[in-house]
Symmetry: C2
Subunit: 113 residues, 2 copies
DNA sequence: GCAGATGTACGATAAACGTCGTACAATCGA
DNA sequence: TCGATTGTACGACGTTTATCGTACATCTGC
């Protein structure tokens, strides 16, 4: 896991991301309710930053952009710019603080289902 | 809780309900991603059967019917006919068997959020 | 500067969604 | 039987969604 994932203090989120305290449950559940986005979250669950293209998703680039935006605006992921890439990571710490156990439970459910 | 909720054997679902093994994670998350439906699930979380009207929802009757159908077709609730009422209950046992911890975690998140 | 790589922006499109109103069906009590 | 209660069916409506293609922006390496 990256060193930013288990911090317990809320940090200032990037533009377009909700703050930790403003993450809404219904938005998170909606973000996780799409199979492609569930696949993205599963791909990010190793705690390593992944670029959008490195996840080998079954949709086109522009649809990818759409799904990453939904996840970002729901507060599920963080996007960092590096070169021509956008490095994505799960906001595990923020989600764990706001909705304890939720992300892990969903990831386990996605893995076994 | 009613006596049907913690059975570990899958039972034949009513028409329109998926069987235990066919409950899909994305459908469950989508069903739970609407505030009204989250309120319904919260209202049913005492384990008691509730009629549709007894939950005092902020929408009209026909919208209620719609939300209960979404929950039923996702496998989240069971509906039983009794007189002029439809008694609703959570499929806690089936959900726990299929996606362990998911329902409890979401309900706890909904309660604190 | 130029070409390639990586995403985003924008518009289009078809499907699904949440909401409502009205009409209807089923049941119960008087 | 008649009226009240409870919920469903159906159609309408505006919004949102998931998807794509094309065009564009940004960065890297030559």
């Amino acid at each position: 896991m990256s060193e930013t994932q288990f911090v317990t203090e809320a940090r200032a989120p990037a533009a377009g991301e909700p703050e930790r305290g403003e993450i809404e449950l219904s938005a998170v559940l909606h973000a996780l309710s799409d199979p492609v986005r569930l696949q993205i979250v599963g791909g990010l669950s190793d705690g390593v930053e992944h670029s959008c293209g490195s996840l080998d998703l079954p949709v086109t680039k522009s649809t990818c952009t759409h799904h990453f935006r939904v996840l970002r605006e729901a507060g599920v992921i963080h996007q960092r710019h590096e070169g021509t890439s956008r490095l994505n990571s799960l906001r595990s710490g923020d989600l764990e603080a706001r909705f304890p156990g939720l992300l892990d439970t969903v990831l386990r459910a996605a893995g076994s289902g």
